[in-house]
Subunit: 119 residues, 2 copies
């Protein structure tokens, strides 16, 4: 194997960030993407669709976190001028997204400014 | 759920960092810990033992990465003054450890300097 060690070998770094409480997994990239999408689209149906997920799956992810933390992340409402109702990410939900985005962003900065992973 | 949203809720961030090549997982925290332990202890047996792993498991992890990258990470040798031989992490192995440590360290700095995750 000696000779092979001379060639250039470049690796690519990747990571997963998540939030825990009392050692229990609470919130990660999947839930972040769902909240963000619901926030941008204004309904759970459209938010889920944009990510290629079913309404049921996306709603399940949100509900699971809400149960674990006993908070509301997304409020749904009926009516409005279009009559279809919609979903609104709560203040707690927006705060959670902001905290996640901020650390994720700083991690990306680390990777962008780090040396090439060449052996 | 409204009233419950008022209480303080603090989450703890955690992450996993890994290196890939061509989209394939190559090197993560487990392998880093093994290389570090072998490097510090000087033998695979002692390095594995310190981590509560079997020799076979630790060696398997190292060999798998070596096969994927076609490089040598750990060289074993016989003899020496104690007669028992030992293991030496190669230059490529040390470089890999160094690259991983450096990013991991920067990630930890991000987490230490970030705001408390309070909703």
């Amino acid at each position: 194997m000696g000779a092979k060690e001379k060639r250039n070998l470049t690796l690519v770094p990747d990571y997963k960030l998540w939030f825990e409480r009392d050692g229990e997994y609470i919130f990660g990239p999947g839930a972040y993407a769902i909240l963000k999408s619901v926030h941008e689209e204004g309904t759970i149906t459209e938010g889920a669709k944009k990510l290629g997920m079913s309404y049921r799956y996306a709603w399940g992810v949100i509900k699971k976190i809400e149960r674990k933390l006993s908070i509301t992340l997304v409020e749904t409402f009926k009516g409005g001028t279009e009559g279809g109702g919609g979903a609104r990410v709560t203040e707690s939900g927006l705060k959670l997204m902001e905290l996640y985005y901020s650390i994720n962003n700083a991690f990306n900065d680390v990777l962008e400014s780090s040396d090439k992973l060449t052996l």
